[in-house]
């Protein structure tokens, strides 16, 4: 019997387990998935939790219910990967050999990378919303906060879901309007980028929205430290931004397991071929989702498209065929803009987000890079799709793993 081992039962790992168990069956193959956690979180929900749009039970389920019965689930911490010996060392000292390894250990916040971020004001006036705990603590804070300077901040790129902090700023604007206290809140969006986003057309559209909503933008801000006493953030150039409430996206890093195993780069991301998803250093190791270093968005939609392509490549690898360089960096993201509206962007390595219609060229019903209620409905419906379609590895009709250029208005 041959072993496929998947590390991590989050979005990417769970989808791979569901794809592969249809293809590689007993008794020839044993698929094992390892994750020490009990719960599977719908991470996009962390954005809505602080504003009481979602409640905790909307976004938390068990890991078990999404893992197929013929896939073995091991709930244990992983001590080390030994890629030269094709084996995994678990925390209890036992070892697990593999023929094929799939790394899907994700990315997480590392506030300790920035001086003073996890200081005396952490979860008092300095919050993250990239963890369940952080998001919930922020909800409790926002319920009682009586206004002042709200600073929404990105520490450094890359981060998971790079549009989430923008969405947070938009939703905050909408939230305070509904509470009839928008005049008491000054919102500033602070980013290390030169503008609201990394791609020119989307940046233009998003900066227009920031302006329209009275959100001030501070670009090119590379944070050096958080001053807990003065309640301000200071950048390396000496620029200072005061806050009453700081909502920050700390540095994101891959899992420490990569550091322990000597398999990560300086942010613990695994060097990966951007079109085949094979690891650069080991032929029988594949990487998908946030754990890899490929220049695509760290987002669930990317993991979903990768999973379809990686499944085929793993089957090619099993049959001794050459891998297909098929992954194009396709990402598809809803951007909540507040007041019951949202934008949709669809892009890949080479094509930036532009206006158009999706998924049917010229018809829609969704509009690209334009605010609409339909897009917002799409974002809300997505939670159902995530739990019921996406994790199970079911193909989403009309949305292909590689990006379509049809219906898009490229200049």
């Amino acid at each position: 019997m041959k072993n496929i081992v998947i590390l991590g039962a989050g979005t990417a790992g769970t989808m791979m387990a569901n794809h592969l168990h249809h293809q590689l069956k007993h008794p020839e193959w044993q698929i094992t998935i390892i994750d020490e956690r009990e719960e599977h979180h719908y991470q996009p929900g962390y954005l809505f939790l602080p504003f009481d749009i979602y409640s905790p039970e909307d976004i938390v389920k068990t890991i078990e219910e999404f893992i197929p019965k013929d896939v073995k689930l091991i709930k244990q911490q992983i001590n080390r990967i030994v890629p030269t010996e094709n084996k995994i060392q678990l925390a209890d000292g036992s070892e697990l050999p593999y023929d094929i390894l799939i790394i899907a250990t994700g990315a997480k916040i590392a506030p300790e990378e920035t001086e003073g971020m996890k200081g005396s004001e952490w979860q008092k006036s300095v919050f993250d919303f990239y963890t369940f705990e952080g998001s919930l603590a922020l909800r409790n804070k926002l319920r009682e906060w009586d206004g002042g300077k709200l600073v929404v901040h990105i520490t450094e790129m890359p981060i998971k879901c790079p549009v989430a902090p923008l969405e947070f700023a938009f939703l905050a604007d909408s939230f305070f309007k509904h509470k009839h206290m928008r005049d008491k809140v000054e919102i500033t969006y602070v980013t290390p980028l030169s503008g609201a986003f990394t791609k020119p057309k989307a940046t233009e559209a998003l900066e227009h929205l920031l302006h329209e909503k009275g959100i001030h933008i501070e670009p090119d801000f590379a944070i050096e430290r958080v001053d807990n006493e003065k309640k301000e953030i200071v950048d390396y150039g000496g620029k200072v931004i005061p806050f009453d409430l700081l909502v920050t996206v700390p540095t994101n890093k891959g899992d420490e397991l990569m550091e322990r195993s000597g398999m990560g780069d300086d942010l613990n991301y695994v060097p990966t071929h951007k079109a085949t998803l094979q690891s650069i250093n080991y032929q029988n190791v594949f990487v998908l989702g946030d754990a890899s270093n490929i220049p695509a968005s760290k987002a669930g939609s990317v993991a979903h498209f990768e999973a379809e392509i990686l499944t085929e490549n793993i089957l090619r690898y099993v049959h001794g065929e050459p891998l297909k360089e098929e992954f194009d960096g396709h990402a598809n993201c809803f951007i909540e803009t507040g007041n019951g509206k949202a934008l949709l962007i669809d892009f890949n390595y080479t094509h930036e987000p532009v206006e158009g219609s999706f998924p049917f060229a010229g018809i829609g019903p969704l509009r690209l890079l334009k605010e609409s209620r339909m897009n917002h409905m799409g974002k809300l419906a997505f939670r159902w799709i995530y739990w019921n379609v996406l994790l199970k590895g079911t193909h989403i009709p009309f949305v292909s793993a590689t990006m379509s250029e049809k219906g898009k208005h490229y200049a």
Binding site: E156, M157, P158, P162, P192, L193, S194, F197, T198, K199, D220, A222, E224, Y236, G237, G238, D266, L267, P295, A296, S297, A331
Partner: protein
């Protein structure tokens, strides 16, 4: 698009970054630096050379990596190139603007 820098016809993109490093020389670097109000000292040149070497070796540049480079630290990098240092320094060095992954 074409732009005359230091008396030479140079191909740049819409943000002013050179698209062909072969067209770069120190005079071109100085002219771009002057336009960005960065007077170049020997220390600036050490860092520009480092950036060019890293680019040649296909290393993805980031502020974090420069902080750990041993060539300079982030504090000094900001003192030398006060406004958006990595973007300014790469433009002067004639190499592409570092891609921030999204």
């Amino acid at each position: 698009m074409e732009k005359i820098i230091a008396g030479k016809n140079i191909t740049v993109n819409e943000e002013g970054y050179l698209t062909d490093f072969n067209q770069w020389d120190e005079k071109v670097g100085e002219a771009i630096a002057a336009e960005a109000n960065v007077p170049l000292s020997p220390r600036h040149w050490e860092i520009l050379k480092y950036l060019q070497d890293e680019h040649k070796n296909q290393v993805a540049l980031s502020i974090r990596r420069i902080g750990k480079s041993g060539v300079t630290d982030i504090k000094e990098f900001y003192q030398l190139f006060p406004v958006a240092p990595l973007k300014t320094a790469t433009k002067i060095a004639g190499i592409p603007k570092p891609a921030s992954c999204i």
